[in-house]
C-alpha cells in the first residue's frame, strides 16, 4: 500500500495471516480475503465529491446535486468493480525455486480467470520494503476471460543462502485507480540460493581415477553402485522393480562400470579454501558433472551426504544442500 506507512501494512499483513492461516495452493481468491481502500487519487476524488455536494446544496441546485450524486455513485460502483477484478481469480505458483547468488530467483505465478469477465491490471507482488534493498518486485498482467496468464517475478539475490517470503500479494487499482484492492496469499515462497559457481580446481575423479579403477576391478563381482531416479530414455532393464513394487519412486540401478562410476564431490577434498569458496567450487563441479560426462555424482558436506545420481531433481537436491550449508534453517 503506497498510502499506508510500512508499519501499518505489516500489521494488516500479520492480521490477515492470523485470520486466514496458511494457504494451500492453488488459491481461489474469495470475498473474505480481499481488502480494499481508496488510493491517493481516490481520496482526492472524495474531497472533490464533498465539495460538489456542498456546492450543490449551497446553490440549491437539483441538477448540480444530481451530477454530484452521479459521481459519488460512479465511485461506489467502481469500488465494486475493483473488488470484482480480483474476486474468483485463481493463482498458483511453484513455491520452491533454485537460484544462484548474484543472479535472479524466478517465480512463475499462474493467474487463471474462469469467469465471464476480463481481469485487467492484476499486479503480483513479492517482498516488502524492509526486506532488501531491492524492495518490492512486481509484475502486472491482464487475464482475459476463460484463460490464464503467467507472471514472472525475478528477484535479484545477491548472497548464497535460503530466502523466504511468508506470503505474496495480488493487487489491482483497476478500473479508475480510485481504489486499490489487494489480497495476501499466505504460502511461503522459498528461493534456495546456491553459490555462484566459481573455482579452478579440476574434478576429483581426474586425480583419483587411476587408483579407484584398479581397486574396483579387483573386486570384480559387485558393479552395482546405487539407485537414482528414473528419467525417460533409460533402458527398462535397469529399472529397480523391487523398489517400485515396495511403493517407492521409480528408480533405476546404476552400475559402476568404469564409465559410470560415481563421482564423489567432497567438501574435505577442498582443503585450504574458505567456506564460500569451497561451496562455489562444489557448485561448479556439479555444473560440470551435469553438463559433462555421463557419470553419476554424489555430494559430501559436513553433516550431509547425497548419494550419487544424475538429472535435474538430483542436481536441485545438491544445489539446495549447498544453499542450506551452514544456515540455521534447512
Amino acid at each position: 500500500m503506497r498510502n499506508l506507512p510500512e508499519a501499518a501494512v505489516a500489521r494488516i499483513r500479520a492480521w490477515s495471516a492470523r485470520r486466514h492461516g496458511a494457504d494451500e495452493l492453488p488459491v481461489k481468491i474469495e470475498r473474505r480475503r480481499i481488502y480494499i481502500l481508496p488510493t491517493r487519487f481516490g481520496l482526492m476524488l472524495v474531497a472533490l465529491l464533498i465539495a460538489m455536494l456542498v456546492a450543490g446544496l449551497n446553490y440549491n441546485s437539483n441538477l448540480g446535486l444530481a451530477f454530484a450524486f452521479f459521481m459519488m455513485s460512479m465511485m461506489l460502483v467502481s469500488m465494486h468493480h475493483c473488488h470484482r477484478n480480483l474476486l474468483g481469480l485463481t493463482v498458483d505458483v511453484k513455491l520452491e525455486v533454485d537460484a544462484f547468488a548474484g543472479a535472479d530467483a524466478v517465480f512463475y505465478f499462474m493467474l487463471r480467470n474462469e469467469s465471464a469477465v476480463d481481469r485487467c491490471d492484476v499486479e503480483v507482488r513479492l517482498g516488502t520494503r524492509d526486506d532488501s534493498p531491492q524492495g518490492i518486485i512486481e509484475a502486472t498482467r491482464s487475464v482475459a476471460t476463460g484463460s490464464y496468464e503467467e507472471a514472472m517475478l525475478a528477484v535479484p539475490v545477491a548472497n548464497r543462502g535460503v530466502r523466504r517470503w511468508s506470503q505474496f500479494e495480488l493487487r489491482t487499482t483497476y478500473p479508475f485507480a480510485w481504489f486499490r484492492a489487494w489480497t495476501y496469499v499466505h504460502s511461503p515462497l522459498t528461493a534456495f540460493v546456491a553459490p555462484s559457481p566459481r573455482g579452478a580446481r579440476p574434478l576429483p575423479i581426474a586425480t583419483a581415477a587411476a587408483g579407484e579403477a584398479a581397486r574396483s576391478e579387483s573386486r570384480g563381482d559387485e558393479d552395482f553402485a546405487g539407485l537414482r531416479s528414473y528419467a525417460p530414455g533409460i533402458p527398462l532393464k535397469h529399472m529397480a522393480w523391487k523398489t517400485l513394487a515396495r511403493g517407492g519412486e521409480a528408480a533405476v540401478r546404476v552400475y559402476s562400470d568404469p564409465g559410470t562410476r560415481p563421482e564423489w564431490l567432497e567438501w574435505s577434498a577442498l582443503e585450504g579454501l574458505d567456506t564460500e569458496a569451497r561451496l562455489a567450487q562444489l557448485c561448479r563441479w556439479i555444473a560440470e558433472c551435469e553438463s559433462g560426462h555421463p557419470r553419476p555424482y554424489g555430494l559430501r558436506l559436513p553433516g550431509t551426504e547425497i548419494p550419487p545420481g544424475r538429472g535435474p531433481a538430483h542436481r536441485s537436491r545438491c544445489l539446495r544442500a549447498l544453499a542450506c550449508h551452514g544456515m540455521s534453517q534447512p
Partner: protein, 675 residues
Amino acid sequence: MKLAAPSATQVTYTQLRWICVCLALALAVHAASLPLWLLATVVAAAVIRLALSARGYAAPPRAIRTVIALAAILILFLQLHTFNGVAAGSALLSLVAGLKLLETQSRRDLYVIALIIYFLSLAALLRSESFWLLAYLLGVSWLTTATLLRLTHSTQPSGWRRSARYAGRISAQAVPLALVLWLFFPRFDGPLWRTPSDGHSAETGLSDTMSPGDITDLALSDDVAFRVHFNGLPPPAAERYWRGPVLHDFDGRTWRRSYAPRLTSAGLLPTGPGYRYVVSLEPHQHNWIFALDWPDGWNLSDAYLNSDYMLVRPALLSRPLDVSVSSHTHVQSAEPLSEAMRRRDIRLPAGRNPRTLQLALDLHRAHPNDLDYVAAVLDLFRRQPFFYTLEPPPLGLNSVDEFLFDTRRGFCGHYASAFAALMRAAGIPARVVTGYYGGTFNRFADYWIVSQSDAHAWDEVWIEGRGWMRVDPTSAIAPTRVQAGLAGSLAASSRFAAAWRQPFSWLSDARLQLDALRQLWRERILRFDQRSQNQLLMSLGIPEPDGQKIAMVMGAGLVLVFIWLTWQIRREQRPDPKDPVVRAYDRLCRKLAAAGLSRRPYEGAESFAARVARERPDLGAQVGALCRRYSRLRYGASRRPAAERWFVARVRAFKPRRAALARGSGQDRARTAPR
C-alpha cells in the same frame, strides 16, 4: 507501478490529446463567462504542450511554468477581486487546468485535470437548469471517465470502443444509486452560506423605469416571462392583468418607481370572485413577483406586499421560482388615499409638456366629474387619429406633448404615459403600471404561458369612494389588441412573427408541447424539494413523513441498490451462465473440491479425472465417465440436449465421499468398491 519502466507512468501524446479534448468540451460551456485572455491562455497551454509532446519533448522547465502560473492567477484576481462564487471559481479552475496541462508529466497530473473537468461540469450545472446541459455534461463525464480508464490501464491500452463501453457500463450501474441519493438526500431551503451573487446574468423583462419605446423592444421577444397554472377557472380574458412595477415619478419623459414601504393594513375589500394559481417565474433579476391584479395570499414566507400592492421579496429573483398566489380582480379600497401619496401621484415636472396641461384643463372644465373626465380622455384617444404601432417615431423631452399633438403613433407605453399625465394635470392621482397582459393557453398541459411579448403598460387612477381603478388606454385605440393579443392586431407588422401566436399551425403545437415538457422538467426535477420528498413518501404509503423517515427510506433504497449491484457483479463471476453443461461441470468440481480434490487451474477435464483416479481409486470410474462426457458435450461438434440432460442429472446425483472416510480400513474400501 513504482519500479515499472518510466514509460509506464509517463504521459503519452495520445493520452494528452484525449484529456485536452475532454477539457475543451467541459470548458465550452463556460466559455461565455470566461475572460477572453484566460481562454487564450488555456488554449495556448494545450497547443504548446501537445506540440512538445508530439515531438517527444517533456514539459517546459519549472521556472517558466511558475512565472506563467503566478502571473496568470494574479491577473485573474485583479480582474475578479475574488475567487469565491461560481463564476470566479470556474475561471480559476479553468486557468489551473490549463496551467496543469502545461506542466503535465506523469499520470498523476492528468488525474488532477480529470478531477477539474468533473468539477467544471458541476459548476456549469449550478447555474443552469437546462436538461440538454445536463445530458451534455453527463456525456462529457462519460468521455472523461473513458479517458481515465485508458490512462490507468497499465498492461495493454484497450481500444477506445472497449474503454467507452466499460465506462458506459459503470455509469449505467451508477444511475440507480444516484437516483436513490438524489430522491432522498435531505434538501435545505436556503443556501448554507451566502455566495456573491453572480451579477453577470442580465436583467430580462420589465425594468423599474419606463421610457417611450421600452416595451416595444420587449414585444419582439418570445422569451417566457412566467407560466401560470390556475387551480379552477381562469379569470376572463379581459381581466388577466399581471401587475409588475408600479411607476410614480415622471420627469416628462421617463416614469420611475418611488419608495414603496411594506403595506401595513389590508386596505382592500374584494368585490368579485377570487382566483388561486401557481405562478412559475423565470429569473428576471428584480425583487418583484408578478401576480394577477390584487394578490391577498401567497406561500412564500419572505414575500410581502408593498404600498403599491406589488408582491416583493428581499432577494433578487436570480433563479426560477414557483409561488402559489390567490388574487382578486375586483376590489374596493377601504381607506382614503394619504395626503403624501396623493401629492406624489399628481406631481408633474414643471415646465414640461405645456400643451398637455392646457388640454387637460380644458377637458376637465368640460367634465368636472372624475369618471366623466376619464371617459372623455379615452374618447379622445378613440376619436382622434391615434395609431398603434410597434415602430413609433422617437420622442424628445416633452414626450407627451409630441405624442398627443404631433406623432400620434405609439405602443401601450406611450398611451399609458400620456393618459397618466392628462389625469395628473387635472388633479386626479394616477400612476403607470407595467406588467403583462393575457397569455397563451397551453392546451397540452393546462397552463398559461406569459411571454415577454405580452408585456404591457396601463394606468391606475384614484377615484374617490372607490379607490384605485384600472384604466387601459391602449384598449381605446386598438380594442382588438386587448382582446386577441398582439399577433391579431399587428398581423400587418412584418417584423412580428411569433410562432405560438398562430393558433392552428402545427409549429405552434410543437412549441406548446415542447414548452409543456419544459414545464414538467421544471416542476418535477428542478423544483424538487423537501415537500416533494414528503409527497413521494406518502405515495410510497408512509404516513407523516419527516426527515428521519426520509433518511430511513434512503438507507433502505441504498441497501436494495447495493444488493442489486452485487448480484449484477456476482453474475459475471460465473463462467458463461447460459450453458447448463458448464454449470454442471462447475458443480462437479465443487463437489470434488468439498471431498478434498480440487481441480488445479491448469488441469483440463481429462487430466483432472486421471488425477482423481490416481488419488481416489474409489471415485475414479465415476469421475472419469463424467469428465469424458463433459469433454464430448463441451467440445463436440453438435449439441445433444438429451445427453446434456443426462450429464446434468448424473452430476446432481453424484455424491463423493470425503477423503478421510474413504481412506479407512481395507474392509471399508472393499465394501464401497462394488457400488
